[in-house]
């Protein structure tokens, strides 16, 4: 037992060492310019350029008033010239400079973009010129945008939802057959993304081969994980709650191994990072995203078909329904659970591979969507196959749509809030059965 766990840990270590060999040891921080020697007559220049960026092009904004207040409270005012440029010299002094744009002096039809900072505070540490940019746009932008954003947000939400469904389906299958709420599932997602990055960027393989290898490794990781870790724990009679806490320990361990080898950096694959966008009506999409979407949908459909049509699939559902009864009809429960772990981890790894394209690869890529996956399968109904997929789509669209009303930093919070709300009004979710909630 102990030996097996040790062997598993060694294996994970080995697999990751392989991945981490080439990761640079440390990122050298940029050294801040040392403060110049202070002299009474020294001046510091505050400059910038006011540009009205709109879809039709750029125009310079002239005649707007800028006020600079230095640390001692002294105000200096200037106006932007016909090129939109402004520049003002203020006495050098260490401390905060406040730069304010007088919005009433902006020409008709030009306004600060929503959320743009004004006044802007800067810390002065040297006499180097300070460049301040105010984000401007057409004043009418806000009115037109709200409705226009809906199709695009729906598309983005659908895209995220389909990819999320891969992870959520694996999580739900594992929960259905073993009863384990796997908190380490997010790390299985990260695993796929980090392996793809390693094969692609470090070993220089083509992105397709890298992705396929990563998916294969993910499946193997799931197989090994169940054979040498979860199955022995089940055989020991470890309780479900105890296993859940074990999975939290595993999450901590894996996430920090990822951080150990990637150094907390945000990295990207070598290819298909910024594909050209194609605009169709109100929606902008890319060919890359359509291909990825196709891959995800094919995978989701084949897994759900396999669950309903094949012998193994039926056995899986039987175990999810009643493990003892399934065992008494001659189903090899342990074998089926191992297959579920393998497929579930494969799905999670694929989710990570695909997420790595649209978001960057980071050690906590999966940890950040773990709770979103929980939200998805709770909305759909814990343990339900279709529930996981529908729940993911609902949650994905909800997250993207929510950015129209709340700050985008809070979009995950919107999903989690819905999770709590669902537990309040319909704890079994959309597709779940009431007896499961206890």
């Amino acid at each position: 037992m102990r030996l097996r766990i040790a062997a598993l840990l060694a294996l994970i270590m080995g697999a990751l060492l392989l991945g981490g060999i080439a990761s640079p040891a440390a990122s050298t921080g940029t050294t801040a310019p040392s403060a110049a020697p202070q002299a009474a007559e020294e001046k510091i220049t505050v400059q910038g350029r006011l540009i009205n960026k709109s879809t039709s092009g750029q125009t310079n904004v002239a005649g707007a008033t800028i006020t600079v207040t230095d640390a001692s409270g002294e105000e200096t005012t200037t106006e932007s010239d016909e090129n939109g440029q402004y520049s003002v010299d203020v006495p050098y002094e260490q401390g905060d400079l406040t730069v304010e744009l007088d919005e009433s002096t902006l020409p008709e039809g030009v306004a600060l973009r929503e959320g743009a900072r004004n006044p802007i505070k800067v810390k002065v540490e040297s006499t180097l010129p300070v460049t301040i940019t105010f984000v401007l746009g057409p004043g009418d932008r806000q009115v037109a945008s709200a409705l226009d954003q809906i199709p695009q947000n729906l598309y983005n939400g659908l895209y995220f939802g389909v990819i999320l469904a891969l992870g959520a389906l694996g999580l739900s299958m594992i929960f259905g057959t073993t009863g384990l709420t796997n908190f380490a599932h997010g790390e299985l997602v990260t695993f796929g993304a980090i392996l793809t990055y390693t094969f692609n960027a470090t070993f220089g393989l083509s992105i397709w081969i890298a992705a396929l290898l990563a998916i294969a490794f993910s499946a193997a990781f799931g197989l090994v994980q169940d054979l040498f870790f979860w199955r022995p724990l089940r055989n020991r009679g470890t309780g479900l709650i105890a296993m859940m806490i074990v999975s939290i320990g595993l999450q901590f361990f894996l996430r920090n191994i990822f951080q150990f080898f990637t150094g907390g950096r945000t990295v990207n694959y070598r290819e298909y990072i910024t594909p050209p966008g194609i605009t169709l009506g109100p929606v902008t999409y890319t060919v890359r995203d359509l291909v990825l979407l196709g891959v995800a949908i094919v995978l989701l459909l084949s897994v759900t078909l396999a669950l309903s049509r094949t012998r193994i699939g039926r056995a899986t559902r039987a175990i999810a329904d009643n493990p003892s009864l399934a065992a008494s009809t001659g189903i090899n429960v342990n074998r089926v659970i191992t297959i579920v772990w393998t497929v579930g981890t494969l799905l999670a790894g694929t989710c990570g591979v695909l997420l790595g394209f649209s978001q960057s690869v980071k050690f906590d890529l999966g940890a950040q969507i773990l709770l979103v996956m929980f939200a998805a399968i709770t909305v759909g109904g814990l343990g339900s196959i279709w529930g996981a997929i529908v729940g993911s789509l609902v949650v994905g669209m909800l997250i993207e749509m929510s950015t129209m009303v709340i700050p985008s930093e809070l979009k995950i919070a919107a999903a989690l809030f819905v999770l709590i709300l669902i537990l309040l009004v319909r704890p079994q979710g959309l597709f779940g059965r009431r007896e499961r909630i206890g």
Binding site: T181, L250, F253, I257, F260, F374, L416, L423
Partner: protein, 323 residues
């Protein structure tokens, strides 16, 4: 030698007192009542922010602000408990961890005039430090820190004595029997739901005391102090010491924090300098932090698998099976 002294200092530091109080609170919920609260970080965050904002933005007196913090935590427990306490253990776990994350994101991104985004709230500890009786360094600690430590450890002792007597009272016995068999308690005519709610509130408020200590100790509260990692580190500490034991969380927090400090000290020493003992292709000093958390993960897994009752606990008393 300095590494060992540093570890011993860590054992009595502000952080250790903070973890102690948070773990004691969790012990009420998880150890005594069997509630799988994965959102302790949220309770601590709400308490600490409530206190900090009350002083920093509304200039309330110190003790009123403390009351505000405790009230905020109690209200959170009430709101969270109403929908989730009737559900099975793993639903409670997911709901509480989600709530804690919502709270952290909320503090980081909204009402910036009060919460200051990710920079957090500062400038609320003047009244507390004004009452500081220490003027010089004590045992190598800064007087400000030592004052926070003093209050922190007094709170640890007081809350432990309070819980010790509470758990021997009829109320405590009912709580423990709810953990053992909810249906049996219900058949005796006790309102299980109400007892669970009281335990959630009480545990949250003790954890919130920890939040005050953290806030005063580091002179600020930031959203990143309260990620779910905090909850899980505290779980590791509680399980190490032994859940459902008065001394368990204290022992767990002190020993585990000192142990982590010892590990970082040793690893830091082994990786420092131009020709470190551990070659730099294997590990650099930037990676010591990751190794520390890996150890948390391994410790949690090993404890849970081989000794879920920890050092002082009784295996029969740990409620670890889903009902």
């Amino acid at each position: 030698m300095t590494i060992i002294i540093d570890a011993l200092r860590a054992a009595v530091s502000i952080e250790a007192a903070y973890f102690c109080l948070t773990a004691i609170g969790l012990n009420v919920q998880f150890g005594f009542a069997g509630l799988l609260n994965f959102g302790q970080a949220g309770f601590v965050a709400v308490g600490a922010y409530g206190f900090a904002v009350a002083v920093a933005s509304f200039n309330l007196p110190f003790f009123v602000a403390i009351l505000v913090g405790l009230t905020c935590t109690a209200i959170l427990a009430l709101f969270l408990g109403i929908p989730t306490l009737r559900l099975r253990a793993d639903y409670l776990a997911i709901a509480t961890i989600a709530a804690a994350e919502v709270i952290r994101l909320f503090f980081g991104a909204s009402f910036k005039e009060y919460f200051n985004g990710r920079d957090g709230v500062t400038g609320f500890s003047d009244a507390f430090q004004g009452a500081n009786p220490y003027s010089g360094e004590v045992l190598g600690f800064r007087p400000d820190d030592f004052w926070v430590m003093t209050i922190g450890w007094i709170l640890v002792v007081l809350s432990s004595i309070f819980l010790w007597s509470l758990m021997r009272s009829p109320w405590g016995r009912v709580l423990k029997s709810i953990r053992e068999d909810e249906e049996a308690v219900r058949s005796l005519g006790k309102n299980v739901y109400s007892y669970k709610m009281q335990a959630l509130i009480l545990g949250g408020m003790v954890g919130c005391l920890g939040g005050f200590i953290l806030a005063l100790g580091q002179n600020s509260v930031q959203p990143d102090n309260f990620s779910s990692d905090l909850t899980f580190i505290v779980y590791t500490m509680l399980i190490l010491g032994g859940a459902a034991r008065i001394f368990g969380p204290i022992f767990g927090a002190v020993v585990f924090w000192a142990f982590l400090s010892l590990i970082s000290g040793i690893l830091g020493r082994l990786t420092e300098g131009g020709d470190p003992v551990i070659p730099s292709w294997l590990m650099t000093d930037d990676q010591v932090g990751s190794v520390r958390f890996m150890i948390v993960g391994i410790a949690l897994m090993l404890l849970m698998i081989f000794r879920p009752q920890g050092v002082f606990g009784d295996r029969k008393e740990i409620a670890l099976d889903a009902r």
